[in-house]
Every structure is written in C-alpha cells, then in structure tokens.
C-alpha cells in the first residue's frame, strides 16, 4: 500500500483530532466530579455565610478543607480507574499559592469589605476557569464567563440577598456545569 504525503498528513491530522477529543473527554469526566463537589460546597458555604455572617471566615476555611480532601478522594478514584494521577500534592500546592495570593491582595493589602470579598473570590477563581478553558475546552470558558457575569450582576443589583444569589449562581452554576459535562 502506498499513499502520498498529503494523505499521510491528513491521516496524522485525523489521529491528532481524535486524540485531542479523547483527552478532552477524559478531562471533562474528571473535572465534572470536581465541579459537582465544589458546587455543592460553595452552595452551602454561601447559604451558611448568609445566615451566620460572624462565622463566615470559619465556614469558608471548612469549605476549602473539605473541598481539598474531597478533591484528593476524586483524584484517588480517577487514579484507580485510569492509572493517571490527576490531583496530587503539586495541585494542592498550586491551590494554596492561588489562595495565598488572593488573600494577600484582598485581605492583607486590599482590606476588602465582606461584599467585595464575596465578589472577588468567585471572579478570581472564574478567571482561572476561563483561561484554562482556552486550552482544555469551551465548557470551562462558558462556565467562567457565565459565573463572572452573574456575580458582577449580583454585586451591582442584588442587595442583602447577595450570598444567596451567589449560592445559586456560583454553587449552582458549578453544579450544573459538572452535570452538563457528565451528560456530554
């Protein structure tokens, strides 16, 4: 069997396209579980912060601790299933650095109000989702931009119900995004 260079290039292009779709599919499968986990935690974190504002700091520390532990569990499950470590200590280090940088500017230097913190953290996280989505897949761009837009809308127009709004759009948005990824 003999083919020319153009046919060979076309075959290699088909191979790369399929391989890219498989990688994206695997990533969506893993990421969807993470989104569902964090969506549920953020939903309850916002609802609890609304009803017990003095405890908000502790609530969010607990949300992050449970989230990291849950992410490790999902990573271990994925490793058992696929043989590839998706969530490891390097991911935790990246997450801690990301939180530390946000805390430095919003609390250490910025002295944000609780409402400003409520809009800063989700939009800060969603910026990463959006940027990562440029490489990984359009679903992340849609989730990142969608939640950012709804967060800013809530900051501007939703009065004392802001945390409940955030429970719905941030927690609910991640949860729906995760479920959508699993379905697709």
């Amino acid at each position: 069997m003999s083919i020319d260079a153009r046919e060979a290039a076309s075959a290699l292009s088909d191979i790369e396209t399929i391989a890219q779709r498989v990688r994206q599919s695997r990533f969506y499968n893993f990421a969807s579980l993470m989104l569902i986990l964090w969506g549920v935690l953020i939903f309850f974190g916002n609802v609890a912060s609304h009803f017990w504002p003095p405890l908000a700091g502790y609530i969010w520390i607990a949300v992050n601790a449970v989230g990291i532990a849950g992410s490790f569990a999902i990573g271990a499950f994925d490793y058992k299933r696929m043989g590839v470590r998706s969530f490891d200590l390097r991911m935790v280090a990246a997450y801690v650095l990301f939180l530390a940088f946000g805390a430095l500017w919003s609390i250490g230097l910025g002295h944000f109000t609780p409402r400003q913190l409520g809009v800063f953290w989700p939009t800060y996280f969603m910026m990463v989702y959006t940027i990562v989505g440029l490489w990984i897949g359009p679903a992340f761009v849609a989730i990142g931009l969608g939640i950012t837009g709804l967060t800013l809308f809530g900051y501007a127009f939703i009065g004392p119900w802001f945390e409940l709004w955030m429970a719905l759009v941030n927690g609910g948005g991640l949860l729906l995004g995760g479920l959508w990824m699993r379905r697709n």
Binding site: M1, S2, I3, D4, A5, A8, A9, A11, L12, D14, I15, I18, A19, R21, V22, R23, S25, R26, M82, G83, V84
Partner: protein
C-alpha cells in the same frame, strides 16, 4: 521505508486505534463513547472493531453495569505497537516528500 499497516489504515479503524491509544495502557473505552468519538454507526463500528480484534489489535469485553450491557474495547500491546509503527511510517512519508534543506 516501513510498510503502512493495511488493517489500521482504513479511516474508521485508524480513528478507533487513535482513540484507544490516547488512553493509558490497559484502559478501554466503552462502545457508546467510541461511537460518539468516531461518529460511526453501531453496525459500522462493530464490524471494524471485529476486524481489529481478529488481528489481535484490540480486546472486547462485555459486562453488565447494573442492568445495562456494556462493551469495552481496549488496545492490546500488539495493537499499540502496530499503531506506533503506522504513525512512524506516516511521518516518514511526509519527511521523505519534504524538500531537503541546503
């Protein structure tokens, strides 16, 4: 130059092998996922998987997940090797046609 693998070179079989090779060794794809990835019909996909299985390039495992039957297709070591050689040959064809630099 090495010969192209005639079994793998068929467009749908190439897609199947490309999809399975993008996974870690010994990890398979279920039939439904493979159908979605390749855009093939049930009958066509089934026939080409059978051809690959007869060549020893993939294994097919059938099981029940709950009450639903699930068919999982996995590339064998021989299949991965054949696919790697096929890709190398495709690259050689492209390299051989490129004008030589001075």
């Amino acid at each position: 130059m090495a010969e192209l693998d005639e079994i793998i070179h068929q467009p749908l079989r190439l897609k199947i092998m490309a999809a399975l090779n993008a996974l870690p060794a010994a990890t398979g794809l279920d039939f439904t996922r493979l159908k979605k990835l390749t855009g093939a019909t049930d009958g066509n996909l089934g026939a080409h998987i059978e051809t690959l299985a007869k060549a020893g390039y993939v294994t097919v495992a059938k099981a029940f997940v709950g009450k639903k039957p699930q068919t999982t297709v996995t590339a064998t070591a021989a299949g991965r090797g054949a696919f790697a050689r096929h890709v190398a040959t495709l690259r050689e064809i492209i390299a051989a046609s490129a004008p030589e630099a001075d």
